[in-house]
């Protein structure tokens, strides 16, 4: 039964409600101010600035390798810095390390869970990280001895309260950044498993993240089911910029190679480019004929091309500056779920629900 309100409690409640109303007004004012400030800088469109840039010719990109071996949907992949090895993870619980030149499988690990949604190669090339429905991110050191049981050396690093959606080593093997269905991102020390920093601000599952190129400093961007892309300061845990122009879940985010912008791919069937110094969206890559969601995006080395993997099984290649599509690639027999350009930019790899990975060049 509810205890009777004393006069003191009643006064406090009135005061709190006044404070709340005051704060609401202030946040509305600030939001309007933000919109005005951003609009002031919108003096020109990106494609207008790029008018004098030479158009791109015809692109001939084909599947050069097909990696077969997963027993179910491929959910994630990452390149090794040696530009030839790849790690991939699948719904069937398997994580495989491949030599993309020869298509040979070099290592395979069976995870204790299905839906391994995230995997990443360590910068040294000596370990891989992965996780998914187990809510964890685990690190497996890769052994030169092919007979060694990798699972025995497994190290549990991150613990979330919902699925792991993405993971990435920072510029060393010592730290891992994770994003989760629990709505947070987190930075972990690999050796101790200690939580170094957590990042709160998304209002729903966080689906993706990308670290800024090392020259640009300690920030990363994340995208989520709340349709927001947030830029974070890794040291303070503070969200320093937030963008909300997509109309649905953001499945993928990737920094432009200079670090001054980032691209996103969404279930709203568009890719968008956000300029960090202008603090706004500066391009949308879309066509009326494209109605299926984008699962993953990545830039070519110069940033001129944006590759998008789509749920309609295709890859669309966009001219980042002019905003037009330059090519559409067919080959996969189900959704493209993951896409990464190789470290030296000579090729890109896609993973699909059709159980295969393809290397394109």
């Amino acid at each position: 039964m509810r205890s009777p309100l004393t006069p003191e409690m009643a006064t406090q409640e009135v005061q709190l409600n006044e404070t709340l109303a005051h704060l609401k007004t202030e946040s509305e004012t600030l939001k309007t101010k933000l919109e005005e400030e951003r609009a002031k800088l919108h003096d020109v469109e990106l494609h207008q600035v790029a008018e004098k840039v030479e158009g791109l010719g015809q692109f001939v990109m084909k599947t050069r390798r097909t990696l077969k071996g997963h027993g179910n949907k491929v959910l994630c992949m990452d390149w090794c810095k040696d530009k030839r090895r790849i790690v991939s993870s699948s719904q069937d619980g398997k994580v495989i390390v491949w030599d993309a030149f020869t298509t040979n499988k070099e290592h395979a690990v069976t995870m204790p869970c299905t839906w391994v949604m995230a995997c990443a190669y360590a910068p040294s090339g000596c370990a891989v990280a992965c996780g998914g429905l187990d809510n964890k991110c685990s690190v497996y050191p890769l052994s030169l001895d092919k007979n060694e049981n990798l699972a025995a050396k497994k190290k549990s690093v991150a613990m979330h309260t919902n699925y792991l959606s993405a993971c990435s080593f920072t510029n060393s093997d010592m730290q891992i950044l994770t994003s989760s269905g629990d709505g947070t991102c987190a930075l972990w020390d690999v050796e101790s498993g200690q939580l170094l920093q957590s990042f709160h601000g998304h209002a729903a599952d966080v689906l993706c993240l990308d670290l800024a190129p090392s020259e640009t400093g300690n920030t990363f961007v994340s995208g989520g089911c709340d349709k927001k892309a947030n830029v974070w300061d890794m040291r303070s845990g503070q969200c320093i910029q937030s963008f909300e122009t997509h109309e649905s879940d953001i499945n993928s985010v990737r920094y432009y190679p200079s670090g001054d912008a980032f691209a996103s791919g969404s279930d709203d069937a568009t890719c968008r480019l956000y300029d960090l110094r202008a603090d706004r969206e500066v391009a949308i890559y879309s066509k009326e004929s494209i109605i299926f969601g984008v699962s993953s995006v990545d830039f070519s080395l110069s940033g001129r091309l944006l590759f998008g993997g789509y749920n309609d099984y295709t890859i669309n290649v966009w001219d980042v500056l002019k905003g037009t599509r330059v090519s559409i690639l067919f080959g996969h027999e189900n959704r493209v779920s993951t896409l990464r350009v190789s470290p030296d930019g000579t090729a890109f790899c896609t993973g699909s629900w059709d159980h295969t990975l393809r290397i394109w060049a």
Binding site: I240, D275, G345
Partner: protein, 73 residues
């Protein structure tokens, strides 16, 4: 059953966090798109010759493009 007082103070904490976050974002120094876009264009142009997927490098220099004929599936 908790009194309404506890619910209100939770909302106030949340609202304060939102205002603090918005203040941080509003205080940011922004640059006009005409300037920032020019930098994006310049970066592309400066790096275009070292972008293999853009220039298309020959089979002899791309390890993925081998000179074998493709097998038709």
């Amino acid at each position: 059953m908790m009194s309404g007082r506890t619910c209100s103070s939770g909302h106030v904490v949340q609202a304060q966090k939102l205002v603090d976050q918005l203040r941080v974002e509003a205080g940011m120094e922004r640059i006009k798109i005409s300037l920032t876009a020019a930098d994006l264009v310049r970066f592309c142009q400066d790096h275009r010759r070292s972008d293999p997927l853009l220039t298309g490098i020959s089979a002899s220099s791309n390890p993925f493009k081998d000179k074998k004929t493709c097998r038709l599936l």
